[in-house]
Symmetry: C2
């Protein structure tokens, strides 16, 4: 690979960022210019939370994002999340709860009568939370126990927590900040369970003490392994009354006069999926903020690997560790993977935004014309596809974030262990991403289940079986040298895994085995592999499509990175290809060899390359991200592992004592 | 696999624990009975450190271990480390610095004139630290910059830090607790560099303020991603004087009268390796304490997986998640691996202890008889073998610790993210283990380098090449059904990787490529694989040897676990076997299938099985390790994520204010 020119790198960085370029630059410059964004470490929980809270207020004051962007430019919201993820993922998490889960749910499930709240979302005047998960119902929320009984006499909802397992759990912003909660509950009208609906409930009053509202109990979940700027709380409701109008009633409502329930969605399952809809954009938001953190990790690790000197040919400490193949093999494939997953995420965001904007337009038309067009089938298929994309990209991005933070930490040695160099925080955030908005592996099961069904429908309509599809693909001659060849291999794997899963299910069910037993007890490995194969193929394809739109300079760079990722994937799945005899042992031997060759060719340019991630140097903060002089200088003074001397804290304009005033600790 | 009986499990647990069974039980009961060992979370750094400090004092008061055990029963020291690792790995790390790195170095490199210090080691009256690593010299300590010049006039050492890069870095116990440091420095006598030696230097005075000694500067390294109970510091020396007698002079000394330097070790490299000798037992100590933490992780995760209910056949939340193959496939192979690595560690500890005790006896004989026996060659070979074992087991155990803590965290979902459930701490500790006492990957390079040389010598003396050795092994028919068959495959892989590395090196060097280029720039993957193949083969072999000593009941259990680990390893290296055509694709297909079968057979007994890890239930502390009622009950009250209510803290007999008195913050 030849020396990439600054112009080529800038062009590629621009393409990778995808949208809202000015916003991205403005947000990073704003944070770089405000000392409150300088990371701080040994702080008590309430102060850590207050810091995230105040940072979020600073951002909000600049109107970088608005809940109304969901109706205009949703990409702006995801871009803001990615930038926030570069700064402070605790703050970014509070952001996503406020703008996406809370604000987004109100704007999309609510109607005219709820819009008055939305101004307070952008200004943070009304901080909200999203009370879906319950202690006993993490991955099976549809079975939640919280109830909302309609009281016709007073036209109110009676919200109640019947059991300990039914307490609302993990509720971000609840322990300290939120005044409103979107509460999800089994809704009973005339003692009939109409399924899960979302109701706005006040949990704190607007008085100066922010008194907890009558009948509501809020408990603080305390210290976590990371993301401690977020105040997670537990909520209990003791027959709390809320006006019937607080039901977010775009799809279901109760008639004030008759007290009759009506819904445009017939099935209870359908109603649940609709009210939990913000979890979809939530997965894109989590992916975006996690990706921001991943870019920070890689940039810090690459820079340190170029300034850290260790044993050289003469045994002196004179050789940058990035020269070592050990370092290159550990970091560069993950870098290439991050770039390609980023292009995949860009695609998912684009698809979700287009669908979401169209849904909004249709809703407006219905409001004006009163006429509701029947959903055409292809539209459902598009919606299902977007669901699959959102469900597969979050696992890929957050698992990648965990591997990258962990690997960068290890490859930066002792320096990587210091809080001030940020990898520890990033590991904690990545784990939050892995579990938030749906456990990664559970989402992968959903993706496989729905995509397998779709494939079977599609190929049936073409009059072919999955086996025939797979057999056609395996006729291609194996080619690991070209990008098209690598894509063909990823398609072959995708087809092969889905075909194997499909036929195994068929034969086992035919033998009378219960589906649950086969799905949860016997085919888990294949189910997980299938969704991964699907997601990785999509990201590879999307990156290849982008390559075709690029000029020669940036194109060559991206081709090399995509080639590295493709080879890495084929190397990972090598035993699968070999046991299926889809590749000869001789060809198989070449795969890791080629991967090493590409890694070596990328290695010498790695410092320049990590510039395409687009992280503003001023937001890296890790001393080891400076040049050798930089981190040596940091280690001259007695800084107690902090960046700011205590004496400078006030100039950072941050008053920690607020924390103790506001916190319940 | 049939239901294991309590007797079988107890027998296996006894074998796994290996030694000092009463000590293990006594230490755990002691900790369980003293509330100071109850974990606490949202604490400021100085308090976290004080807690680890006070916990260590409680243990010391019971004389569970003594530095003199290095001359009597070294296994006792490692057993104490493992138990301490179950309680608090920060405390365990302070323990290993005090008893192994500091005390161990004084007792083994010192002579009669230094033994007066040793009493203070056991009582913690004299807390010490081990000042080897420098900011600029982590993996290349032999190049360190700190100097010790001998001043004949005053018969003193002048200890000096010439540069920022030469500051002593990461020094545990230095920021707050230590009064003594074993300082490693380039030693100059008559301006001749005699290599690195160890000198006792006072860094704090014994007055009530524990004043930092004249010429010494101590800086606090502050917050880390984990292990924050350990007070890591940076040390600078400004021409600090120490009496010449403070040189630990078992192998080198300066004559008071003539001022001449003499050493029983001729090469400077040899002197460095000898003075850094405690890093060897240090690697066993780190492995032991990390293993303690790993056992805690597995026990908590297994128990939660049996009490946590999620979606069942009817869609209700009524099925323990351990029933899911997803959970079993994630946790059980790691469990089996932990047990087998444990047997491997037992072997390494035994070999190191035997060698170390014999060396001590020889030293005593020399002291009495004055006659020094020439080292026989086989003895050197034994020493080299023990070095290899210590260097390979630490990476295997600490990487396993990281994977287990990370996987358990993820498979326990949101609950796994709460500090109170301990996985976050364990991830932090595992990372410390990966880097402490030598970066894992760097140690693996050393193992491969030395073992390759040995293999070449050995086989040459047998008149065969490595290729012939490998060819002989590949004649065996592949058998994945029996333990002997699996061992044969691991041996085949070991031979194959070393043969490939050896021949590649030979041909590349023959072509005139510089060794550094080939070793650091081209063969890294093979070098890492080789050491892993060596270490895993040793652990598998050791476990198999143990199996042959067991009664039928425990034997069947261990056979199943070893089988699972063997299949998991062969599955991991499957593409290597297939590309070398050492296994047919058909046979290869069977490997993951067999692994799944064994996992399923182990799954139903997993709760009982994790009992063999020998963790006292009272030391689990994680609420999710209780039964369903247990963690539901924990979530009833407003505990702020802590186990102790603030009001109970005093009954825990812990006075946090001490922290503020003692700390410099």
């Amino acid at each position: 690979m030849k020396e990439p020119t600054p112009q080529d790198l800038t062009a590629l960085a621009h393409t990778l960022a995808h949208d809202n370029h000015t916003l991205r630059a403005r947000m990073q410059s704003f944070a770089a210019s405000d000392p409150i964004f300088i990371p701080r470490y040994d702080l008590p929980l309430p102060v850590t939370r207050e810091l995230a809270h105040q940072r979020l207020h600073r951002l909000a004051s600049q109107n970088f994002l608005s809940v109304f962007d969901f109706e205009k430019d949703p990409l702006k919201i995801f871009a803001a999340h990615e930038m926030a993820g570069i700064m402070d993922q605790s703050m970014a998490t509070k952001m996503t709860v406020q703008w996406n889960l809370f604000g987004g749910t109100v704007i999309k499930l609510g109607t005219g009568r709820h819009r008055k709240l939305l101004g307070g979302v952008d200004s943070l005047k009304d901080v909200g939370c999203f009370a879906l998960t319950e202690l006993g119902f993490g991955n099976n929320a549809v079975e939640m126990e919280t109830t909302a009984h309609y009281i016709h006499e007073t036209h109110e909802w009676d919200i109640h927590t019947p059991t300990i397992k039914g307490q609302k759990y993990w509720i971000s912003n609840a322990a300290v900040d939120a005044t409103w909660a979107v509460v999800f509950a089994q809704t009973f009208v005339n003692n009939k369970n109409e399924g899960v609906h979302a109701i706005l409930v006040r949990i704190r009053e607007s008085d100066s003490h922010r008194t907890v509202s009558k009948g509501v109990t809020i408990q603080d979940m305390g210290a976590k392994m990371g993301c401690n700027g977020v105040d997670n709380g537990k909520l209990f409701f003791d027959h709390v009354r809320a006006p019937a109008e607080n039901l977010l009633n775009r799809y279901s409502d109760v008639d004030r006069r008759t007290g009759q329930f009506s819904s445009s969605i017939s099935s209870r399952r359908g109603r649940f999926l609709k009210v939990a809809d913000q979890l979809l954009s939530g997965r894109l938001a989590i992916s975006s903020l996690c990706l921001g953190g991943t870019k920070v990790c890689l940039t810090i690790a690459f820079r340190y690997a170029h300034s850290r000197l260790c044993v050289g040919p003469e045994g002196k400490s004179d050789t940058p560790i990035m020269v070592y193949q050990l370092q290159q093999r550990a970091l560069l494939p993950l870098f290439a993977q991050t770039v390609c997953l980023n292009f995949g995420l860009n695609y998912c965001k684009r698809r979700w935004s287009a669908l979401s904007l169209r849904a909004h337009q249709q809703y407006q038309q219905v409001q004006q014309s009163g006429y509701k067009a029947k959903n055409k089938n292809d539209h459902d298929e598009e919606a299902e596809e977007v669901v699959r994309l959102c469900c597969v990209i979050k696992p890929l991005i957050t698992w990648n974030a965990e591997r990258i933070a962990t690997t960068c930490r290890e490859r930066c040695g002792g320096q990587g262990y210091l809080s001030v160099n940020r990898f520890g925080d990033m590991i904690g955030y990545a784990h939050a991403g892995i579990t938030a908005e749906g456990d990664n592996s559970v989402l992968m099961q959903k993706v496989t289940k729905e995509y397998l069904a779709l494939l079977q429908r599609q190929h049936k309509s073409k009059g072919e079986t999955l086996e025939q599809w797979f057999m056609k693909l395996r006729e291609k001659t194996v080619d690991i040298e070209s990008l098209e060849g690598l894509l063909a291999l990823l398609r072959l794997r995708e087809a092969g895994v889905f075909y194997e899963l499909g036929s195994t299910l068929e034969s086992k069910l035919a033998k009378g085995k219960p589906l649950f037993q086969v799905w949860m007890g016997e085919e888990s490995d294949t189910i997980q592999s299938a969704a991964k194969a699907f997601g990785e193929r999509v990201c590879f394809e999307q990156t290849l499509d982008i390559i075709h739109t690029l000029d020669r300079g940036p194109r060559t760079i991206l081709e090399t990175l995509l080639r590295l990722w493709g080879l890495t994937l084929v190397e990972t799945y090598l035993s699968w290809f070999l046991t299926r005899q889809l590749m000869t042992p001789q060809k198989g031997l070449l795969v890791p060899q080629r991967a090493r060759e590409v890694v070596a060719s990328v290695g010498e340019h790695s410092l320049a390359l990590c510039g395409i991630l687009g992280v503003d140097e001023r937001l890296l903060f890790a001393p080891i991200a400076g040049d050798l002089g930089g981190w040596e200088e940091y280690n001259r003074s007695d800084n107690h592992g902090e960046l700011l001397e205590k004496s400078l804290l006030d100039t950072a304009g941050f008053k920690p004592h607020n924390a103790f005033r506001r916190s319940k600790l």
